[in-house]
């Protein structure tokens, strides 16, 4: 409502200007520049003028083809098999390198493949490393978001008891949040180190020596999982606190009513606590998702994307191109793809958790 007392165009603009101007310059402008650069061949420093290249950067990253390899046959039409009994196929290179009959396969490389009858179906990608980064990032988010949110809720319920000294425990559970993820990553390298590492020792102690030590960060099957576990450890206290503030907005009279009715603990949680946490749940899922997509420092410190690209992620790829190779356009293209995914997922979460009336 406008009143003469508060109407003031000049003062209003002047006071909002520093904040609004800085956000426009350092957040909104680079945001739109990312879109603009992704359509060019912009480099950090280059003697050649920048050119518009359309969607070439996107094609170079996202290009996929499915191709079916048919077995090599002899003149009689029989399938050739090698000494080990494996079916022999023509080499992929014959199709992907300068083969005018297959222009769509030009420059692509094998991402993965599977057997179908005597044929072999191959999925080729223009940029296999990017595809792995995309899949790893999405895996990371899909695991971290529910696990971290769930564990944070368990911790919040644990800390919401009325016990002497409970605020000390709350302070301790929150502690990793104030420690830099860079510091945490270095410390956890000792936990995950092969052979005599802390985790290997604990596990072999618990199983009375039956556990075989692993190289947690050095094996493709465990590296991403190890980084997920550490990330949850570091971040879970943050969301515990947000759950806790949600828990404390639930009116105590509801709990008293449930007690009078003789509800079980599970019933209290299901019918009193959980409905009161709806909005908190949406917020937490969105915040964790956004934070999880930004995964970078853990990878940079612990694995550099390895082993065999099993921990490649989008921000690491964007930095490797934009900063490492000074390819601003390539890095920007990955940034745009990342942003579009984050946006879609937050909208989807909002839609899935909407009020159903």
């Amino acid at each position: 409502m406008a009143s003469k007392l508060t109407r003031s165009d000049r003062a209003g603009w002047l006071m909002a200007l520093p904040g609004a101007g800085l956000i426009a310059t350092f957040i909104i402008l680079p945001f739109f520049l990312a879109f603009a650069f992704s359509l060019t061949n912009q480099r950090l420093a280059s003697p050649n003028p920048t050119e518009y290249v359309g969607f070439e950067n996107y094609r170079d990253l996202l290009g996929l083809s499915i191709f079916t390899l048919e077995p090599e046959r002899n003149e009689a039409g029989d399938v050739l098999v090698d000494d080990d009994g494996q079916i022999e196929y023509p080499r992929l290179r014959k199709f992907t390198r300068n083969n005018p009959d297959y222009p769509k396969l030009q420059g692509k490389r094998e991402w993965f493949s599977w057997q179908s009858g005597e044929n072999r179906t191959v999925v080729l990608a223009s940029d296999v490393v990017f595809m792995k980064a995309l899949v790893n990032t999405i895996t990371f988010v899909l695991v971290v978001a529910p696990v971290q949110a769930g564990l944070a809720l368990v911790l919040a319920l644990l800390i919401n008891q009325k016990l002497r000294g409970i605020s000390l425990f709350r302070a301790v559970y929150f502690m990793p949040v104030v420690v830099s993820i860079v510091v945490v990553s270095i410390l956890w390298q000792f936990i995950y180190s092969p052979g005599d590492g802390l985790l290997n020792n604990v596990l072999s102690g618990l199983t009375f020596g039956a556990f075989q030590p692993r190289d947690w960060l050095g094996e493709t099957s465990t590296a991403l999982g190890a980084i997920i576990a550490m990330s949850v450890w570091q971040g879970v206290g943050f969301h515990m606190v947000i759950w806790l503030s949600g828990l404390q907005t639930i009116s105590p009279t509801l709990y008293e009513a449930a007690e009078i009715e003789g509800s079980s603990k599970w019933q209290v949680f299901r019918y009193v606590t959980w409905p009161g946490l709806r909005n908190t749940a949406i917020l937490i899922l969105i915040v964790i998702t956004m934070q999880a997509f930004a995964l970078f420092a853990q990878i940079d410190v612990m694995t550099q994307g390895g082993p065999l690209d099993s921990t490649q992620v989008l921000v690491f790829q964007a930095v490797e191109r934009g900063y490492g190779k000074q390819d601003i356009s390539g890095g920007s293209t990955i940034s745009v793809i990342l942003f579009v995914i984050v946006l879609c997922i937050s909208l989807l979460q909002r839609w899935l958790t909407r009020e159903r009336n």
């Binding site: 603009w13 520093p18 800085l22 956000i23 502690m175 949040v177 104030v178 420690v179 993820i181 503030s245």
Partner: protein, 293 residues
């Protein structure tokens, strides 16, 4: 209704504390390992990980790692840079964002609602998606220095500070807080002829202690722990912050782990001490980001 026997209650209490303590151990042990290891020579540090000795200050204990670490890298400079960059950014954030929020909440002006909506929308842009174009901008932005206009912000303090002064979350926190202040107070001051600047300074700011603490703590944690941005824009040793300074220790052929632990302890313990002394305020700050979001 069954009566709960005293024994049973005692047992339940013990179980509850046992669970709480077990979880606490999970959160504390890596930090304990860090502090304890910083006192051990490399050889012992590595061999101790096969037993509980990893968490005990036993064996050949000394502060040698600390003095060696100070010899290897200009740690004082790194710490000073981090304190300077973090401190200046926090102060500027408090001023710029509270002023903007004041204008959004208490003043009526043309375009206010549109601009506020746009600023709120920026909350969905993760910094990591704008760092690459921002890197190019930073390499070409102008600055008025001693010798007239110069171009390029790389390897400066300003490139570590200015882009992070204003952000949607800080403004949003102030707006939420200001909305709950009594409007009559502001209107009464207006009637008495106070300028907007006076009202901001003398009426609103003195009432804003809690939100100032919240915004300051969140910005402090973000700035002190920044890694990716300074990694890209700061190469010069004399302006490096602590997280990037870590490279002096970890980029070695034979990583001096004792010194690494000493360095990590130096850059982490002050923050932990600060947190523990103000833990209620820290936790309330994080909680307030969730209440009305």
């Amino acid at each position: 209704m069954a009566l709960v026997s005293p024994d049973n209650r005692g047992l339940r209490l013990v179980t509850r504390y046992a669970v709480l303590i077990l979880v606490a151990v999970i959160f504390v042990f890596p930090l304990l390992f860090m502090g304890v290891s910083s006192l051990k020579p490399d050889q012992q540090l590595l061999s101790d990980t096969n037993s509980l000795r990893a968490f005990l200050p036993v064996g050949d204990i000394s502060f040698d790692n600390y003095s060696d670490a100070f010899q290897r890298a200009p740690i004082g400079v790194f710490v000073l840079n981090s304190v300077l960059v973090t401190g200046v950014t926090v102060l500027l954030t408090l001023f710029v964002c509270s002023l903007a929020a004041f204008s959004f909440v208490f003043l009526d002006w043309k375009g206010r609602d549109v601009i506020f909506t746009i600023l709120l929308a920026t909350l969905i842009i993760p910094y990591e998606t704008i760092f690459i174009p921002l890197l190019l901008m930073a390499s070409q932005l102008p600055w008025i220095g001693g010798g007239g206009i110069e171009f390029g912000w790389l390897n400066t303090y300003r490139v570590q500070i200015i882009p992070f002064i204003a952000d949607g979350l800080s403004i949003f926190l102030f707006v939420q807080y200001f909305k709950d202040l009594p409007r009559e107070l502001i209107e009464a001051s207006r009637v008495e002829g106070a300028s907007w600047w006076m009202i901001y300074r003398k009426v609103v700011l003195p009432l804003s202690g809690p939100v100032i603490a919240t915004a300051a703590i969140l910005k402090f944690l973000f700035m002190y722990n920044q890694y990716l941005w300074p990694l890209m824009v700061v190469q010069a040793e004399e302006i490096r912050p602590v997280m990037v300074g870590l490279g002096y220790f970890t980029d070695q052929l034979n990583v001096p782990w004792g010194e690494v632990m000493a360095y990590l302890t130096i850059i982490t313990v002050p923050v932990l001490a600060f947190y523990l002394s103000l833990q209620r305020v820290f936790i309330a700050s994080v909680a307030s980001t969730g209440v009305k979001g």
